[in-house]
């Protein structure tokens, strides 16, 4: 990546150009459902504006022979308190087909917001989405096993939200130290 950036100067590094090419295919298919491409050199990404299309986009990205994003490296939940939104960031790439990689952002309302689950597209999203729910509290529609994963079932609050207040006691045990 460092090398790529040295060469780059004003033009995009090779890795970002690949992502851009992949993005163009998606944009061509889904049009306004996806946002403009953010060609930053460290993690090029685009955002899914119409979240109801997210599963379709995911399936297209996984199965289209030009894209073949069959490997979801990471799915991170993120809190955007300024926009009053929660979101997920998915880092996708293709194993055995192409060398491109891209990140996808999906956002939802902070309170009671929901994002369609892509655990049917990538199995690995199952636990990642459970973790995001556990830590941020957005729900994933159509998730087969929508439970907390790291915190106990009866934990209150979502620990990674910026405004999280830890509960005083848990089953009579003092929590904050």
């Amino acid at each position: 990546m460092d090398n790529g950036m040295e060469e780059a100067g004003n033009i995009m590094p090779a890795a970002v150009q690949e992502s851009k090419a992949a993005y163009d295919i998606i944009k061509e298919r889904f049009g306004s459902a996806v946002s403009e491409f953010d060609a930053n050199p460290t993690m090029p990404f685009f955002e899914v504006v119409d979240t109801s299309k997210w599963v379709d986009i995911a399936l297209f990205m996984r199965d289209d022979s030009r894209l073949k994003f069959n490997y979801m490296a990471c799915l991170s939940g993120v809190d955007y308190p300024e926009q009053n939104q929660l979101g997920i960031v998915c880092n996708l790439e293709s194993i055995g087909h192409h060398t491109h990689r891209i990140a996808v952002k999906v956002k939802c309302q902070r309170d009671g917001g929901s994002i369609p689950s892509v655990s049917c597209v990538w199995h690995t999203a199952n636990w990642h989405e459970r973790e995001a729910y556990d830590m941020y509290g957005m729900t994933f529609d159509g998730h087969p096993d929508h439970r907390r994963i790291l915190c106990p079932e009866d934990w209150t609050g979502y620990p990674l939200r910026k405004d999280y207040q830890v509960q005083e006691t848990y089953h009579g045990i003092k929590v904050p130290y």
Partner: protein, 400 residues
């Protein structure tokens, strides 16, 4: 014939037959037993709990429950500044601290865009490959224990001790090193370090062979692992398996080659994948074999690094470390090949603060373990143990 009623879990049927006789039929009924395996169990490698529904010895379904070791690493990260996170990363995968530190530092360095001295890069590669061998030794040794072979475990720990001594010598700690810093290292390596690492490499080669003869080529060991817990490559990719797990399924995917970082592009090493001669591709034995082969490759890498590492007079390993680590606003997903697979850090910086807005750790074990439910269906309890062992989980990393 007419069915009149059912009782007792459908096992009893009362049937009126055509000649008006009433017959009560009862099946020989068996019940499923719920077996809680863990969090205190010798072979869940820590505090994993598997809730197994068993039919005799056969596991119908095993549901993993995590979180017994959850420390909310990601919340800590939002409270401490960038260099302060490094010690916490050690505590994720405590068997491969150097590798996790390296992954984190790579992520932050991508944001910072700093030039790393070549000597630092080579030292980083040497220590992380040493740590990879140490980690694989634990994986192989405990896998032996899972299958009832106790002696290989102690052989592994004897050899691992030499690596831990080396790493303690350079960093001052045996497991939680805090050695690789953003932009540099906490200290340069001591004098004679090269010599002692070279001595270790010559010492370890025959020991690895001995281990292979004792465990990997053992008929019973092969019988226990071959064909157990087969994961097809397609499904493995879909589960985002990485590291030896993915390579065990026959996918030649190694971040050191496919998303190269540090000085790995300059080094000559193989990415071992099973070819189906010794094992069924994707089974527990393949994953074990990949780990065993990787130790050899790591030795090769270390030897090359010892040759190529530049000697610098009065070298300051902290020279490239920025005075104030405050990356420009942006996001990055940086990752490295850990002994257990891809460890990645998704970091969001707002450009103003010295603390990350968000630091998500993508844990290899967490992802690898997520396939457990699929893998465990219909296995015998001893096979379940063999599968958990082959996944090689470190609960510190799963729960973070």
């Amino acid at each position: 014939m007419q069915e009149l009623g059912k009782a007792e879990l459908n096992s009893t049927r009362i049937i009126r037959q055509n000649d008006n006789r009433v017959v009560i039929e009862k099946d020989l009924d068996t019940e499923y037993m719920v077996l809680s395996m863990g969090p205190q169990h010798p072979s869940t490698h820590g505090v994993l709990r598997l809730e197994c529904i068993t039919d005799g010895e056969v596991v119908v379904e095993a549901e993993p429950y995590l979180g017994y070791l959850h420390r909310c690493f990601e919340k800590y990260c939002e409270k401490v500044d960038y260099p302060g996170i490094v010690p916490y990363t050690d505590r994720m995968d405590y068997l491969a601290g150097m590798n996790t530190e390296l992954a984190y530092c790579i992520a932050v360095e991508k944001l910072l865009d700093v030039e790393i001295p070549r000597r630092v890069e080579f030292i980083r590669v040497i220590v992380s490959e040493l740590n990879r061998i140490a980690s694989h030794l634990v994986a192989i040794g405990t896998y032996g224990i899972d299958l009832g072979a106790f002696t290989p475990f102690l052989f592994c720990f004897r050899d691992r001790e030499h690596i831990l001594n080396l790493l303690e010598w350079i960093s001052g700690a045996r497991m939680l090193y805090n050695y690789i810093w953003i932009g540099g290292l906490s200290y340069d390596v001591p004098a004679d370090f090269k010599k002692r690492v070279a001595e270790f490499v010559t010492y370890f080669r025959p020991k690895a062979l001995e281990l292979q003869k004792l465990l990997t080529e053992n008929e019973i060991f092969v019988k226990r692992t071959k064909g157990v817990g087969i994961m097809p490559a397609e499904v493995a990719i879909n589960y985002a398996w990485s590291g030896p797990m993915l390579r065990g399924s026959g996918v030649k995917w190694d971040l050191r080659r496919n998303d190269p970082y540090s000085v790995y592009p300059e080094l000559d090493f193989e990415v071992p994948v099973p070819d189906g001669r010794f094992s069924d591709i994707g089974d527990s034995l393949s994953r074990h074999l990949v780990r065993a082969w990787e130790m050899d490759e790591s030795l090769k890498i270390i030897e090359q690094c010892l040759d190529k590492m530049p000697e610098v007079e009065g070298f300051n390993s902290r020279s490239a470390i920025p005075k104030k680590i405050r990356p420009k606003a942006g996001e990055v997903y940086g990752r490295a090949e850990n002994p257990r697979g891809e460890v990645g850090f998704y970091i969001v910086s707002d450009g103003k603060s010295t603390k990350p807005l968000r630091c998500k750790a993508r844990s290899s074990c967490f992802v690898n373990l997520s396939a457990m439910k699929d893998l465990s269906k219909g296995q015998l309890i001893p096979d379940l143990v063999a599968i958990i062992g082959s996944i090689d989980i470190v609960l510190g990393e799963v729960d973070r």
